[in-house]
């Protein structure tokens, strides 16, 4: 072995994962994605606007409106920022499940990308359905992220 070069363990190659968020419950989807990210995968989520939050529309809206009131008192432009676009909202939700104060979490967040609809580069590729996030199992009312974001001014 050459002097000065450390015997670094090569990171195991982990595949990229493309996840279809259609008809998936947002929180369950996000926790699953967060786990994938921390295992070292790079994750792309498509169809973000079709993910679902369970509950009555008015109560979900009320909750998100309350979140949006949190801002710097002296200058709201300094944040914290609350995304109003479906892909950013999903990315932010996953961020809340990552250890962002550690470099491990930041790197994991960096490996995540979210998209509205299915972009050209993912057409024909294998899309994975999240395992435990199927909204068909719900026995309650629900709204899609797209509908939620439209209430906050997002235009399709």
């Amino acid at each position: 072995m050459q002097k000065g070069i450390k015997d670094v363990e090569q990171p195991t190659i982990v595949p990229k994962i493309h996840i279809d968020a259609k008809n998936a419950v947002l929180g369950r989807l996000s926790s699953e994605v967060a786990k994938y990210l921390l295992e070292g995968h790079a994750v792309n989520i498509v169809n973000c606007e079709k993910a679902i939050i369970s509950g009555k529309k008015h109560s979900i809206l009320k909750e998100y409106r309350e979140i949006q009131q949190i801002h710097t008192a002296t200058n709201p432009r300094r944040g914290p920022f609350h995304p109003k676009r479906p892909d950013r909202l999903v990315r932010r939700t996953v961020r809340g499940m990552l250890p962002m104060k550690k470099s491990r979490g930041k790197a994991a967040h960096h490996r995540l990308m979210t998209y509205i609809g299915i972009p050209k580069e993912f057409v024909g590729q294998e899309l994975i359905k999240p395992k435990h996030a199927d909204a068909d199992k719900l026995n309650c009312k629900s709204i899609t992220i797209g509908d939620l974001c439209k209430e906050f001014g997002w235009q399709d």
């Binding site: 008192a73 002296t74 200058n75 709201p76 432009r77 892909d87 509205i116 609809g117 399709d156």
Partner: protein
């Protein structure tokens, strides 16, 4: 402190960002929808100055209907614009994306000051590529430049802007755009007298100003401690930072501002009809086509302003107003 009350309305609007414009030639943030025959949706002109005219009010419901009224008008000189390119945009969830671009090589010499003519540019080949992508195009825009050398303002370098082409079907719009390439467009091809337009321009720059001039706070009494032309209190002890709502010093003016529904009173070609004796102060004579807009528009004289199809849907007046008199009295002394 005789002025001060317990509560008072906020000084100046918080709805605007008071930052300098990035470019002096405005580019509209949005274009209205259009579903008629193909046409350009805007025009660039140069603000010449103001005068006044007498016209017969043609709003039937107005209490001044059919009466003669004196109104102030702004003169905008509009020498012909030249179209030298086309651009196709595709609408994505994240905004518009350029997918096709076509430039003509038949150019005016003046444009060389602003943009160099590309070498080894194959027009026919690029045109073919453009036509292949026609189906994907959601918005078509013409790249135009002004001809300031035709006016008397001393500016030589043309300004460049993108102007949306309104069309019924994309093939119509593309053919219309091709027919314009390398050619001059007149103001009469775009707007008719009597219509409403939006004026978009950069306001007069006032530099770094204090809160009295910038926000209109009250001047304090002369015995005030520390400051007279400042804000009496800029906030509480805690939180120990200044609130974003406090009227403070900073840049004033030179902002992009849009004013909606300015009525075109007249479109003319003979500047002598409207230029005051001795010419417009700080501008001179009007040598080209001109537009008379009712009321004022933002910006200094000589500044490039964009006239755009009205964004807010208001019923367009059917006829052009009957103007009885336009003042050409000298504006000096």
């Amino acid at each position: 402190m005789g002025h001060r009350r317990v509560s008072a309305p906020h000084r100046s609007s918080l709805g605007y960002r008071r930052v300098r414009a990035r470019r002096i030639v405005p580019s509209p943030r949005a274009w209205p929808e259009h579903d008629g025959s193909s046409k350009l949706m805007g025009f660039l002109g140069f603000k010449a100055g103001m005068t006044h005219c007498v016209y017969v009010v043609d709003r039937p419901r107005s209490h001044l209907a059919n009466r003669e009224v004196t109104v102030s008008v702004t003169v905008v000189e509009t020498p012909p614009m030249v179209v030298f390119g086309l651009r196709g945009y595709n609408k994505t969830p994240y905004g518009l994306e350029i997918i096709a671009d076509l430039r003509t090589l038949e150019r005016k010499d003046e444009l060389e000051r602003k943009v160099k003519t590309p070498k080894n540019y194959d027009f026919e080949k690029t045109k073919k590529i453009f036509e292949e992508k026609l189906d994907e195009i959601d918005e078509l825009r013409a790249i135009v430049h002004t001809q300031p050398h035709l006016t008397g303002i001393g500016m030589k370098t043309p300004s460049i802007a993108e102007i949306k082409i309104g069309y019924k079907s994309i093939s119509d719009g593309y053919e219309y755009g091709l027919s314009l390439l390398g050619k001059e467009v007149l103001i009469r091809d775009v707007f008719k007298p009597g219509e409403f337009v939006d004026s978009i321009g950069v306001t007069k720059g006032k530099g770094f100003q204090g809160p009295v001039k910038r926000h209109g706070v009250k001047i304090l009494q002369h015995k005030s401690k520390g400051t007279k032309r400042g804000v009496g209190s800029i906030g509480p002890w805690t939180p120990g930072r200044t609130m974003w709502t406090i009227p403070r010093y900073g840049q004033m003016g030179f902002n992009v501002r849009t004013e909606y529904n300015k009525r075109i009173m007249q479109i003319g070609s003979d500047g002598a009809e409207i230029v005051p004796k001795g010419g417009f102060v700080n501008y001179g004579l009007v040598k080209n086509n001109y537009v008379l807009l009712k009321g004022s528009i933002p910006g200094s004289k000589k500044r490039t302003v964009m006239l755009r199809e009205p964004m807010r849907k208001t019923p367009q007046p059917e006829k052009e107003p009957r103007i009885l008199y336009i003042s050409t009295e000298s504006q000096q002394g």
